[in-house]
Symmetry: none
Subunit: 549 residues, 2 copies
């Protein structure tokens, strides 16, 4: 729940050792204990996030970008100990985010676009990291090891930011699958590369063949661990089939798979992703009750949302504007470097896709190019640079600056680009429908207002009737036009999936209303628990069916 930790570096200066002992020894203080301050910071962060949610909708700003900016703004007023901790991100936040993305990824959709995904997440990351490193070495005069480490860190695409942007603007589903799939797997590849480079750093050198072998073992091993634990937990689910306890089990699986992967010496990231894919695609379908499934998907949605909120807020808080200003030239060069790296990996690789798969349109490639937003994982890796790396502090500042500018700059320009490229074209039919709906909606709102004015006695009846009937004409016309539209094009209704989505959305709202009524009746003890539960289960099943497409 609470992601505020005592940032390691700063703790020492603020917590001289007698203070640590004092705070650990503060038994018997009741509600004045050492968690009180933490809770207050948590409350402030929650309120800030609520404010960001309100404002970002008003100003059409991406939520995560708004969080980072808000974090920057409030950093001054918080106790300086509040900050990010790489161990917390890696061990807790990262597995939660990866697992959440994975259980929501449909394997069949993934399979249909696996080739471009693997191309970008495999060779793509290697090329981007290589080119970026080279440019960093030449431009900033870094040594090979630091340059390679930063190059790899900046080759990671942040799943969260990209998905967040795509939730705001609509893109074709195949494109979003490619982007999400790529960012899901490229974390794993980049992490493996990162630890390989660190190994070279500590052991002196390894041969290219050894490196390739390591890469293979780590990735295949991670997949095996993920497969084994994923299937194991699927078996447990079926036996358990209790919505609330299943939550505990999935959290244990997400965190446990990552840890076991790390302990065994394979990629924990790959393991979590594979386990999540299995749980989401096989564990939560068929044999488990619909309520369990809905509970789990909702829980993970909330967990992912909460973790993201805290990560991005804390990224903003962590960034020091003065240091950022000082490293600005380096940061700008680093951004240029990773954009070039991304450029030479996306366009050439995807140009050849048509040889063995459906081609990726050029306009999509622009989105894939600009979609390489950096985020929390880059910051966590920068944090985890060992102190033996020369110039560690300035490397961290470099990465932080790049992440900040990437989140703000690309976070704002990507939605603009997507809209500009007109990737999704409304069918004429749908456009007409929506225009008529808008007409209906406004006329009805006006009539409502008239009704309440009449009721309040502000309007004389005669004026009311005259005005109301003028709106009624509009309502009737719009309704007739809509009816004609639907009658004329039943085949189109069936054909264009997009238009049906609207009705699914409506059906979903109806089912949610039914569910709400049942819960309300239970709360008020009008109906008894057993009956409500069985009905909710049926509704949940229908909801799930709707959400399938």
């Amino acid at each position: 729940m609470y992601g505020i930790v005592f940032s390691e570096k700063v703790v020492l200066s603020y917590f001289p050792q007698h203070f640590i002992l004092a705070s650990l020894n503060s038994t018997g203080q009741g509600h004045q204990g050492r968690f009180a301050e933490l809770v207050i910071v948590l409350i402030v962060l929650l309120l800030v996030a609520t404010g960001v949610a309100l404002l970002s909708r008003q100003f059409r700003l991406p939520y995560v970008t708004g969080l980072v900016l808000a974090g920057l703004a409030i950093a001054e007023f918080l106790p300086r100990r509040v900050g990010l901790d790489s161990s917390l991100i890696l061990n807790l936040f990262l597995p939660i985010l990866l697992f959440e993305s994975a259980i929501n990824t449909d394997i069949s959709r993934l399979r249909s676009t696996i080739k471009p995904i693997l191309l970008l997440a495999g060779p793509g990351v290697a090329i981007a990291a290589g080119v970026t490193s080279l440019l960093l070495k030449l431009g900033l005069g870094l040594g090979w090891i630091p340059a390679l480490l930063i190059g790899t860190i900046l080759a990671i695409t942040d799943t969260v930011s990209v998905i967040a942007v795509f939730k705001e603007v609509s893109v074709p589903s195949r494109l979003s699958t490619i982007v999400e799939g790529e960012s899901l797997f490229n974390d794993g590849v980049a992490l493996v590369l990162f630890s390989l480079i660190l190994k070279v750093h500590s052991t002196g050198s390894i041969t290219f063949l050894e490196g390739l072998q390591d890469l293979f073992v780590v990735i295949v091993g991670g997949s095996l661990v993920g497969l084994a634990l994923g299937y194991l937990s699927v078996g447990l689910f079926v036996r358990l089939d209790d919505p609330l306890s299943s939550i505990l089990l999935t959290v244990a699986v997400a965190l446990g798979t990552f840890q076991i992967g790390q302990v065994v010496g394979v990629s924990g990231v790959v393991a979590v992703v594979v386990a999540g894919l299995i749980v989401g695609n096989f564990g939560l379908s068929g044999s488990v009750s619909a309520s369990s499934r809905i509970t789990l998907f909702s829980f993970w949605e909330y967990a992912g949302f909460g973790v993201n909120t805290f990560i991005f807020l804390l990224i903003g808080i962590e960034i020091d504007l003065i240091t950022l200003w000082q490293t600005l030239p380096g940061v700008l060069l680093a951004i240029l470097a990773y954009q070039v790296g991304r450029f030479v990996s996306v366009y050439p690789l995807l140009a050849g896709v048509h040889l063995f798969d459906r081609p990726v349109p050029l306009r999509w490639q622009h989105v894939l190019f600009l979609g390489n937003i950096k985020g929390s994982l880059s910051m966590a890796l920068a944090f985890s640079l060992p102190s033996t790396i020369p110039g560690r502090e300035s490397l961290i500042a470099l990465v932080f600056g790049s992440v900040l500018l990437s989140l703000v700059g690309q976070g704002l320009s990507l939605p603009w680009l997507v809209r500009r490229l007109q990737l999704v074209r409304f069918s004429e039919f749908r456009q007409q429908t929506e225009e008529l709906q808008a007409q209906l909606m406004t006329a009805k709102a006006a009539q409502d207002e008239l009704d309440s004015l009449l009721k309040a006695g502000v309007l004389p009846k005669s004026v009311y009737e005259e005005m109301r009937s003028s709106y009624q004409v509009k309502v009737a016309a719009a309704e007739k036009a809509l009816r004609d539209l639907y009658n004329r094009r039943p085949e189109e209704l069936a054909a264009t999936n997009k238009d049906l989505i609207k009705f699914d959305a409506i059906r979903r709202r109806l089912l949610l209303a039914e569910k709400g009524a049942l819960n309300e009746a239970l709360r008020k003890r009008i109906l008894s628990e057993e009956i409500v539960q069985s009905r909710i289960q049926t509704i949940d099943e229908q909801l799930l069916k709707l959400e399938d497409d």
Copy 2:
């Protein structure tokens, strides 16, 4: 999310100072950081809880009791630093649990049983605490202050355990309202008493009048803080109306209300409960969309479940069996003392209820007597005893032992007692009725939603009519079946009083709605005072008649 903390006492022995510094200074270790161990402990606890969920269902053991026993069993194998922390419970867990109970409490139900609730939570707690203290003083030779503190700690009924038991066996709704309402408010009263006694301890003495004045200020002040923040957040909700961000807001409200209450010097517990009642009853109804409401209620359900799971598991881990064995005679006496205290507060107080309210049946009083299960709040308060209290350690052991035996003993015997007393009989007739009612209710809710969609212009009339008529078919069928059911069995309807209870609930709501409309009309000066008063009196009479069962 994770409720494992470094238990204050033990940390010192296990974390010699150089180790603390080392662990705080462990930058650059990547995934070997200091959160890794915490996460592993978390995984183990989650898996244990999953196991408990599986087994407790099989052996028909209450889940919370199972958790405590499992905690006892695994304590040996965990790093000894894992444990409970009073500051964490008070600042984080307690507000979450109280808020969750409060938003799920229906104010109109509460109002209809407020008299026995206030009787038990007010004078009841005072009598129970007094008698228990006296017995502890005489039996164990404690001083007045320690005896009074422990007496108050053992006068608290644990909301969570009691509600958990009632979810497993069904009881009449009025009884469960009394039990839940009592445990919701008696936390507040006991906490206020507790701090009053501590004040006497530190300042020497205060007069009875001063004490009463303090009590009044603290409780009324807490209610005012809760009212203010509750209404403030209701306003925000309506503006926000985004399911996920609303979660953040409610968490901020729950934790913030408690903190503000504490800072202002009034009862944080009372403030949270009042704010929760307002958010649950006014914030989450009407003006907020159905999906926001469902999201919030589910989130709080998950949060409450998670917090409970950890609290009870950690209670088990915290209890040391050897110490428990040594203090067993004292513990047994303490249990006897608080049972006697409860006995002399429940039966005499409720015997007089019939003078000014509907009587509470004797069989219900047995449930209220045995329902005084002790839990986490008692343990937290014991932890928070200041070190100036003589014999602090043994007092803590005394409370821990009592809580453990209470959770196991009463947790197991209460469901048995409830079943034995046969408080609820579920006739086939009633089941059929409820199923049909659920069908009606959901269809009507869906129709309402459709109406509002049509009104908003989202739906064209033709689609609306088609969908609405499909629901109308269900409504008509359910109505016909219900009518048939009643016509077929008039004698059964008259005979089984029990089946009428549910209809009483509906009639009560209708009467309350009539009353509300009258009050509204009076407020708007549409009707005159005399007419409204006499009608309200008639309605009140009908209400009282209804509630006699």
